[in-house]
């Protein structure tokens, strides 16, 4: 048999080998150079990051008193599956619980061995060091920072607000936030969230196959939140809250020359941790922020505005005398008001009722309806120029604007019937369809104190390292001639000091207080007690509105309360101890059971 040579098959085999070699080279080139996929997978596999939470900015009052701070705290987490044998007694001791309780808790957690779970919400501060020292051998355990937000004075919860963990909806809308992040939920904490929170940083680690962190790759340090200095006066706020104990209502005090809000009380108050009030307060929506969200009829404090508008229009002049016709509207017994200031001093209802009629008659028109319409349109515009029923741009979220009646409202109410000033003249004394907020009332006091202008009220104080929005430094004028304001200030002084004035309880020794009482009718129960004031008369330092629900006549409760706050702010002492004691002890909370 002739031997056959297969030498040429060498080439086939070499081709196969080279083909595999070329496939391998291209595969390697694809994995390492061309496709980014495995490079990215490698990062996922080998690196892990830990966020560094920025510390939240502190909040101070205008004098540097701390209102909100962060208390460091730690919590312990465990992934049961990752743990190895550990000494339960030692660990229980370190987190400050009994051995048996710890074992029981831990037993429960082992039901979900793969998930990271919270085992101690609050590790005692004194043990954190020791715990850290043993943590390296306690596999599966992790100590996490959970600084708490504390409000040491416990005042002004409605203004400061509170923080909570973000909810899912917020995370969807604002991509910055991650689950378990904290976010301001109301008040300043919410409005200035971006400034207060800072920016988180992160540490990038290399980890091994078991998830242990081995090396830091990069550090991106967190940017701490900025501190805020507010315009609040902590002492005054605390004192005001004390005075409002056992009363439902609100107090707003503003520095007229700047629009800085010194005090804003909503009573009852609440605790920021659990959003609850004391047992009595619970019945009256404690988290409801009355100064900004409650819309009340202002009552007689509106009469100065009505008078000024009538004066501006020429419907009356300063010395117009109008008889106190009690058949028009109820009034109390007082001498006939022979001028606008006297009408204000006596708070004469018929005087202002009729001034609205004069305004309508001053207008040109074919019918009384048409004239009334024109007058109301003018009136509405003027009222709003006092900031009433308008957006005062305050730097706290969720405020109401109130509402000032206009023609459209009455057209709708009377369904095309010919309404006229007589059908709506209670608006001239701050009743009826008019609704404004206590903040707007305090702002009104500012306007009288400033003799005709105001700044948007705000909580952020300009300091060396803190700028405020230019909107808060702009002057807003009313639609009324400035020359007419001094006589209002005089009249308001008379309300407090004059014979027959309605707010004589607001008088303070050595300080000229200008004020005006109001008694807002309340169809649901007792009238609301209202008072606005500013003091001292020249270059006022404080303007205030006090609104106490269901407390009756304004001069009885709201006026003395306001005067105590003014006195405290201006002189830092209270001379009339009896007045203070009377307010402190008063319980003006409506007793619902008695009504039934």
């Amino acid at each position: 048999m002739k031997p056959v040579s297969y030498d040429d098959r060498r080439n086939t085999i070499l081709v196969i080998i080279l083909a595999i070699g070329i496939i391998f080279v291209f595969r390697l080139l694809f994995i390492q150079v061309i496709s980014p996929k495995w490079k990215n997978e490698a990062l996922k596999v080998s690196e892990t990051k830990r966020t560094i939470q920025p510390s939240r900015g502190l909040i101070f009052d205008r004098n540097g008193t701390l209102l909100a701070l962060n208390t460091p705290g730690y919590e312990l987490w465990v992934t049961p599956r990752k743990t190895n044998h550990f000494d339960t007694t030692e660990l229980a001791n370190l987190i400050g619980v009994s051995d048996s309780l710890f074992k029981a808790n831990y037993q429960k957690l082992t039901k979900n061995p793969k998930t990271k779970q919270l085992i101690s919400k609050k590790v005692p501060k004194e043990n954190v060091h020791r715990l850290n020292a043993v943590l390296y051998r306690l596999k599966g355990f992790e100590l996490q920072d959970n600084s708490r937000r504390d409000y040491p004075l416990g005042i002004a919860p409605h203004v400061l607000g509170y923080i909570r963990e973000v909810d899912k909806k917020t995370i969807e809308k604002k991509p910055y936030y991650r689950p378990r992040d904290l976010i301001g939920k109301s008040g300043i904490e919410k409005y200035y969230e971006k400034i207060l929170r800072g920016d988180r940083g992160k540490n990038q680690f290399l980890k091994d196959a078991y998830g242990n962190l081995k090396e830091v790759v990069s550090t991106d340090s967190a940017k701490a939140g900025s501190n805020l200095t507010t315009t609040l006066d902590a002492d005054l706020q605390a004192y005001s809250e004390l005075l409002m104990k056992n009363k439902i209502g609100s107090i707003v005090a503003i520095e007229p020359s700047t629009g800085e809000i010194l005090t804003m009380v909503s009573s009852p108050t609440f605790n920021q941790d659990n959003l609850r009030s004391d047992s009595i307060g619970e019945l009256f929506q404690p988290t409801f922020n009355r100064p900004l969200q409650s819309q009340y009829p202002p009552g007689s404090i509106f009469k100065m505005v009505q008078g000024l508008i009538a004066l501006e229009m020429g419907a009356i002049n300063v010395n117009t005398t109008i008889a106190c016709k009690k058949d028009l509207v109820g009034c109390h017994n007082h001498p006939t008001a022979r001028s606008l200031p006297e009408a204000i001093k006596y708070s004469c209802n018929p005087y202002f009722f009729q001034s609205l009629g004069f305004m309508a008659h001053k207008m040109e028109g074919n019918s009384i309806h048409e004239k009334s319409e024109k007058a109301l349109t003018y009136w509405n515009k003027q009222v709003k120029s006092f900031g009433l029923g308008t957006d005062l741009k305050v730097d706290v979220p969720n405020y109401k604007k109130g509402s000032i009646p206009n023609c459209a409202l009455y057209d709708k109410m009377y369904k095309g019937m010919n309404w006229n000033y007589r059908t709506c003249n209670s608006i001239s004394i701050g009743q009826g369809e008019m609704l404004i907020t206590p903040l707007q009332m305090a702002n009104l006091a500012c306007i009288f104190g400033n003799r005709g202008h105001y700044y948007y009220p705000h909580f952020l104080k300009p300091t060396k390292n803190q700028q405020i929005d230019s909107i808060f430094t702009q002057i807003n004028y009313t639609g009324v001639n400035k020359d007419n304001f001094p006589l209002i200030a005089d009249a308001m002084q008379q309300v407090v000091e004059g014979v027959g004035g309605t707010a004589r309880l607001a008088k303070i020794e050595g300080v000229i207080v200008c004020g005006k009482t109001g008694t807002a009718q309340n169809p649901q129960g007792e009238d609301h007690s209202v008072f606005i004031a500013f003091a001292p008369k020249e270059n006022p330092k404080i303007a205030i509105s006090v609104y106490i629900e269901n407390a009756g006549f304004g001069g009885t409760w709201a006026a003395p309360t306001a005067s105590l706050i003014i006195e405290k702010y201006l002189t830092d002492t209270i001379k009339d101890k009896w007045k203070e004691k009377r307010i402190l002890e008063a319980d003006l909370i409506p007793k619902k059971e008695e009504n039934n």
Binding site: T12, F24, Q32, V33, K37, A42, S46, E47
Partner: protein, 439 residues
């Protein structure tokens, strides 16, 4: 003695020494232990690998000093003894990674299957070098099958699938020695068609708004190729030569078209979620399971991919490194990950080049042999090295199934290094003696 040393093919020896040295450094990086920082520390894998390298050189020197013809004369005893060891290991062997394949001596272990490759190579060489033997003859074929399949059966009993797969290397050798090329061709064709059917099965082709299974496309493409070849034969072949290739072509076409649906049918018979099915799906790229079965390959590919073009630098790996241990078996079967991550594409390319050079060099050496015994033997070990290389690298790069076999000279493992060294030294010895035939 003098002539033996003079005639050694130093290029082959050098390539092996370079590969083994690179291997030791890769092992050092992938299993470095701070407590034993010395590369010679016998407590650690790197020290042991160096020791095994030393042992290999000593044994290699002994092989070179053997009497001419000693190996050829004693082949039958060596084969018999290794078969005996394979039987023995099934009885008294130590089980590691699910295979009863080891004789344990302290922390050192010996795997007889590693030496079986040499024994079969020698035995095959001996058989084919006998006079009056032709691979086209049936009785020769039966004898050869016996030589190869006896150890395969014993190794399957361990079971050690990887080593069995390496025995496929002998198909290449037999092909070189005259086995019909059709077997090789049909085998490759069958595997390619079956694999492409499985890969294309879940996908759809859309054409002119019609959507249909990509399997139809595959069948269509195969038919097109067949028509093209048909046309080629008709144009370029003389009429009287056309008959045979046309019948072959038709046969191949029909078989291919049958394989497409049947492979898919049988694959779908395996229940969804079955372990083996998942493994196949992962290898075919149809599934990723980075936390489960696909963990190894996912980690390996991540490590390789992160090396990029130039690598992270020696001992600087962040996945396939002793510190991070992200790649399982990173100093043995997955040692290539460490190379690829630390030296990047450049390192991988150099490694491939070294291996291919070694394999091709061995084939060229084989081809220059005058004695059939030497040629068959050297061919055998070249093909064994090639299969080890192809399966191992294919596995870590995700284009071959996960089958645990070492990368020759590189992977940590004493008996593997020793076996490959003996293989090479025998080849060098046979090559060095090739001129003796003329004296």
């Amino acid at each position: 003695m003098k002539t033996a040393l003079n005639n050694i093919d130093y290029i082959t020896l050098l390539l092996c020494v370079v590969l083994a040295t690179m291997g030791v450094f890769a092992i050092y990086s992938s299993s470095y232990n701070e407590e034993f920082p010395s590369i010679f520390s016998l407590n650690m894998s790197y020290g042991k690998q160096i020791l095994w390298g030393g042992i290999s050189i000593v044994i290699g020197a002994i092989i070179l000093l053997l009497e001419p013809d000693f190996i050829r004369k004693n082949t039958i005893y060596f084969y018999g003894f290794t078969i005996f060891l394979l039987l023995l290991v099934l009885i008294v062997g130590e089980e590691r990674n699910g295979a009863k394949a080891w004789f344990g001596v302290g922390s050192f272990g010996i795997q007889p299957a590693e030496f079986m490759k040499i024994a079969v190579s020698l035995m095959l060489a001996k058989k084919l070098s006998e006079s009056n033997v032709s691979i086209r003859k049936n009785d020769t074929q039966i004898q050869i099958a016996g030589i190869i399949f006896l150890p395969i059966m014993l190794i399957l009993l361990q079971p050690d699938l990887g080593t069995v797969l390496v025995f496929m290397a002998f198909i290449l050798v037999l092909y070189r020695e005259g086995l019909s090329g059709n077997i090789l061709l049909y085998g490759i064709l069958l595997v390619v068609v079956a694999i492409s059917s499985l890969i294309l099965n879940p996908s759809k082709t859309s054409l002119f708004g019609f959507e249909f299974s990509s399997l139809y496309t595959l069948g269509f493409v195969i038919t097109l190729i067949a028509i093209a070849i048909f046309a080629y034969i008709n144009v370029f072949f003389y009429k009287r030569y056309r008959r045979k290739p046309l019948i072959k072509l038709l046969f191949v076409l029909i078989i291919s078209l049958i394989v497409i649906p049947t492979s898919v049918y049988f694959f779908n018979k395996i229940p969804e979620g079955n372990y083996q099915r998942k493994r196949i799906e992962i290898t075919l790229g149809l599934r990723e399971d980075p936390k489960g079965i696909g963990y190894n390959i996912h980690q390996a590919l991540s490590a390789i991919g992160s090396g990029e073009g130039a690598g992270k630098g020696y001992m600087q790996a962040t996945l396939a490194n002793s510190k991070f241990k992200q790649v399982p078996e990173q100093s043995t079967d997955f040692i290539f990950c460490t190379i690829a991550e630390e030296w990047g594409f450049i390192g991988g390319f150099i490694l491939f080049s070294l291996f291919l050079t070694l394999i091709i060099r061995l084939i060229l050496i084989a081809e220059r042999q005058r004695a059939t015994f030497a040629r068959v033997y050297i061919y055998s070990i070249a093909c064994i090295l090639f299969l080890h290389f192809a399966i191992n690298i294919g596995m870590v790069m995700g284009i071959a199934p996960i089958i645990g076999i070492p990368l020759p000279f590189f992977s940590y493992g004493g008996s593997s290094l020793l076996a490959f060294s003996i293989m090479i030294f025998i080849a060098l010895k046979l090559d060095a003696e090739r001129l003796d035939a003329f004296r």
